[in-house]
Amino acid sequence: MDTLVQALVNGLALGAQYALLALGFSLVFGVLGVINFAHGGFYLLGGYFTYSLMTSIGLPYVPALIVGVAGVAVVGYLMELVLIEPIVDNHEGTLIISLGFFLILSAVVTVAYGPEAVPAEFPVSHVLRFEGLYIPVARLIVIAVSAGAVVALWLLLFRSRHGVALRALSENREVATMQGLRPRVYFPLAVALSAALAGLAGGMVTPIFTLEPPVAEAALMTSFIVVVLGGLGSLAGAAAAALGVGMMEAIGGTYLDGSMTRLLLFSAVLTLLLFRPAGLAGRSLRDA
């Protein structure tokens, strides 16, 4: 029972960070129609910027995280403006460009910090111990902050003028443009927002686990599987799938082998696609 509770807490923590990743990824796909292969790179940068600010100018963790996330947002903004925008309607081309950008990001990070993991540490290492349970406070903080970010995102998208604009562009770009919404303004912002979410996840989580270049690919793969499961284009689906995947991985990781869990999960999702190509909650693909 205790193990199960711990697994659930771990699952929530995993699910929460996956939600940040997947929501950002889904947002960019929804608003721009672009599949952003550099998304894992934003996660990575979140970790490295935070670490860097802490070690080079001695910022405490929280300010470092905030500034780091802002930095990642800027990178995302510039990437869209300079590289994506020129051919934003070419879906294959923008995918390749984002892939190229990811390769460059990985190379830069590896050259700057080396291919080995850097000793990034989460500042809070307390552990809650009661009734035989062993719950690191760090995980609880990750859950809380991620939940807060998701709520903030929801408020932005559904309760603010800019959010309405983003959703309008996502649903029907032509009509939205005719009504005066300018994609050129909102597209870079959407990518910046998505980068910030990924960067936040990266900045929070990598000090708990590990911060090294291969982490980017794992984050990207997670974004893919969550978004495909939840349905491309559905934010609610992405969030739900993220929690589900987090839970499954945590529980699977406790009782089974880690990579076996991933294998089962990926196989299950691919089988699902056979019957529901649009994922659990995705938009119909016939006229995608």
Binding site: I35, L83, I96, I97, G100, I104, S106, L273
Partner: protein
């Protein structure tokens, strides 16, 4: 136009009798590739220049993988799952060589057939997926197969299968560097021929689906048989490449087939071009050569590849071969003073990546 003299039979002009089923002839570009491979195969190679043999081999082992990507690119689909089918082919060949026979024809056959069969269920999954969503899911397919291989003890897990015997033909052992290269050339030639025949027979359907799938459908073309056939061929091609890699290393190891390597094969076609097999050929030769230059500093190779992908996508959307072709056509038009409008049978492909 100097480079591509593909004469496309088309419906006869209204005064002439109705055209019969059109056949396409092989273009100069594709013929050149076949010729190059044939020449390399039959001409004597400097056996003492080990470095050159090795570098040529490096190109030749992955050419079929680039062709695997190319076949799907003819449908404007990005296939990132090629390493998965390379692994299926490579491991199948490895197991066959260790347990059944080391006859090279059998090994090539196995590496062709098993991935083709494996491609069918995955093809059924991806058949209904559009555009970039397809790309994403093929990435996942690559990951699934990789995880499955690493998880299975029968395939050696993270150690792979080592000590694979060299292939034989008749009584001859084909174990040295030159023999390995010749096997590679022969297999690549087979791969090129398969692709050229496939695209000749299905060219009109491939082009129609790539150019305007909605219109093709409403005119009566079923997209899924073409896509499935292309995906199966793609799997077979990748499998052959997998065999060549395993044969060169005498080991079937998961790291040869990691998901991220799929990016390389896509890059070969994006940079080279996807109008004919010349594109993947040029892309593979160029990029493998570049990577070899950076062998000591692998991390810069990644950055260079990334930069090339960005540059090509922004400025050379038809890849190197497509851009050169367009430039040459433009020069010829200017030189012969022909006007630019109403260009006859423009067979350049505008909507490649």
């Amino acid at each position: 136009m100097p480079e591509l003299t593909k004469t496309r039979d088309h419906a006869a002009a209204p005064d002439a009798p109705r055209a019969e089923r059109p056949r396409r002839r092989i273009s100069i570009a594709e013929g050149a590739v076949v010729l190059a491979l044939v020449l390399l195969l039959i001409l004597p190679l400097p056996a003492d220049n080990l470095q050159m043999i090795s570098q040529l081999n490096q190109v030749v082992t992955v050419l079929a993988s680039a062709l695997s990507v190319y076949v799907m690119m003819r449908l404007k689909l990005l296939h990132f799952g090629v390493p998965a089918f390379m692994a299926v082919g490579g491991y199948s060949a490895a197991l066959t060589a260790v347990h059944v026979t080391d006859n090279v024809v059998a090994l090539v056959g196995v590496s062709l057939v098993v991935p083709a069969l494996a491609a069918v269920p995955f093809g059924l999954i991806t058949m209904r997926l559009r555009g970039t969503y397809f790309a994403l899911v093929t990435f996942l397919i690559g990951q699934v197969v990789y995880l499955a291989i690493v998880a299975s003890d029968g395939l050696g897990g993270t150690d792979g299968i080592t000590g694979i015997p060299a292939p034989t033909l008749g009584g001859t052992l084909l174990g040295d560097g030159v023999a390995t290269l010749r096997i590679g050339l022969a297999v690549s030639l087979l791969a090129v021929v398969l692709v050229v025949v496939f695209t000749m027979v299905n060219g009109r359907r491939l082009d129609a689906l790539r150019s305007n799938e909605v219109l093709a459908g409403s005119l009566g073309l079923r997209s899924w048989p073409v896509r499935l056939a292309a995906f199966v061929l793609s799997g077979a091609l990748a499998g052959m490449s997998g065999f060549l890699i395993v044969n060169t290393l005498t080991t079937a190891h998961p790291s040869s087939f990691s998901t991220l390597t799929g990016v390389n094969y896509v890059a070969y076609v994006v940079v080279g071009g996807a109008a004919s097999v010349l594109g993947p050929f040029v892309g593979t030769v160029l990029l493998v050569f570049l990577v070899v230059q950076f062998a000591s500093e692998g991390v810069y190779a990644g950055a260079l590849l990334g930069g090339l992908l960005i540059f090509t996508s922004l400025f050379l959307q038809k890849g190197l071969t497509g851009t050169v072709h367009d430039l040459t056509a433009w020069v010829v038009r200017r030189a012969t003073g022909r006007s630019g409008s109403a260009r006859p049978r423009d067979d350049s492909r505008k909507d490649q990546t």
